[in-house]
């Protein structure tokens, strides 16, 4: 059952006494009510630990929620739900539900690094935002988004093309995966300039890393490895 972030029970119970005496003085009104317990429920506290044990997310604990990251954020201007400060807050509380609700915003970081650069506490914000998103992906809580799809495509293109990419191999793979890339008109225009300069040869036949098959094997093995910070 999803619980909206702002309505989660923070105060569990209140005891009200008709007659209460504190330090010999009788109190009434709001003073004779006592909060029994302050607990937050509906949170998954393991989320903070999971993120802070990754290479990208290790600095999450240093955040003091000043909002410097969000105030300068490139993406914030386009998407009011995009707030690195809030992502960090929710992730530390372990509020997976609220994060899932804003999943259409979570992936939209353009990696301009303003937040990381400006953070007064040295939080690697851009990396932490990706770590939070990756945590949700790992638990299968969010849909696959265009950015993750493109990142995977990028890695696949590198792996399948001898360790390098060109604008053509990447563009072709992206078009195949359904991204809107360049129109035929754009390509013809580009082709003209490229032919003139002789660039076209390099683009069509990109060079490969000589012993790529060996490197690729090691990389494929390394992919299975989880990096844990000690």
């Amino acid at each position: 059952m999803p619980i909206p972030e702002l309505e989660k029970p923070i105060i569990k119970d209140v005891i009200s006494k008709e007659k209460a005496i504190i330090d010999g003085v009788e109190v009434d009104g709001t003073w004779n009510s006592f909060i029994v317990e302050r607990t937050q429920t509906g949170y998954d506290e393991s989320m903070w630990d999971e993120i802070s044990s990754t290479l990208e997310g290790v600095t999450i604990s240093a955040c003091w929620q000043c909002g410097t990251c969000t105030s300068g954020c490139t993406m914030r201007e386009y998407d009011p739900n995009f707030s690195p400060r809030r992502f960090i807050d929710l992730a530390r509380k372990g509020d997976r539900q609220s994060l899932v609700e804003i999943q259409d915003s979570l992936w939209r970081c353009v990696s301009c690094q303003k937040c990381t650069h400006r953070c007064p506490k040295g939080v690697m914000v851009e990396e932490v935002v990706h770590a939070i998103h990756n945590n949700l992906l790992k638990h299968g809580l969010v849909r696959e988004d265009p950015s993750t799809k493109f990142d995977e495509l990028f890695l696949e293109t590198v792996m399948n093309n001898g360790g390098r990419i060109t604008e053509l191999t990447l563009g072709a793979a992206s078009a195949k995966a359904g991204f809107v890339t360049l129109s035929v008109k754009d390509l013809i225009k580009m082709g003209g300039a490229l032919l003139k300069s002789g660039l076209v040869k390099d683009l069509i036949k990109p060079s490969r890393v000589r012993k790529w098959s060996k490197v690729r094997k090691v990389l494929e093995e390394a992919m299975k490895e989880e990096v844990i910070i000690q």
Partner: protein, 306 residues
Amino acid sequence: MSERKEVYGKAVLYPGCSLDGLGKSYEVSLKLVVEDLGIPYQRVEDYNCCGALEVKNVNTMVGLLLPARNLSLAQSMGANTVISACPGCHYSLSRANHYVNKYQNVGQRVNEHLKKMEEEPYEGKVGTAHAVEYVYNAAGVEEVKKRVKRPLTGLKVAPYYGCLYSRPKQFLGTGYSPFKDDPERPNFMDELLRAAGAEVVPFEAKTMCCGGPHVYSDAEVSVHLEARILKEAKRNGAEVLVTDCPLGHVAIETNMDKIARKYGEELRMPLAYFSQLLAFAFGHSPDEVLLTANLTGPMSILRRYI
């Protein structure tokens, strides 16, 4: 002058995929510039893609191994500094450098994998520099002035540095060393262009994001960000947008028609790499520095200097 060169020791160039692709004009012109200035470098051969901003999001270890292999190649060439012309590569190599030095167990794992690839274990000691920083520090503005044969007097330029030339300080060390540019208000490229005789216009979008990594996945936003950069340059009267980032350069050039259609024809503006303008000012022909290969046709403006 020799002292200045000492800053970088033995320097090698990591070309990265973009310089062997559409960024060819960047590499060709940069090579002419450093040779004219007497600060040549060797090229890292058999390099692989650095992983850019994409691979690190998919897999942590591969996101470190791709750049680390390149650092190891540079190390085995005896390099003290690896120069990247692409800020994406510069960022990626610096990031790997940062992490293998900061977390010993990560560094060890990286080296175990490098050994399996039959590469030298990486000791974490190769420095990183961007091409603009290298030209600015190793040669210096005065040397550039001396080489200018074709002063670009009266050419109004807006230098666009992009995001990863100076951010984040944790990886790139910007703001901590006199050989690194000011991270929020960079000016190394401004000074190099001024030395070539050009007039640098006030430009507030120097380090604004072009939406590069999401040029396919979030296209609308990217096009709008690019339009804003061009608008800012136009407002200040720039004739050419000068770049140091192949990712931003190619993204803006290929999107120029879309931008003009959507945000106004008046935003059309030619783009050129800073090294193209420097090499052109040093007397090289437009064909030699591949100014003719730029999709936005900067020769329409630069013709008056021939």
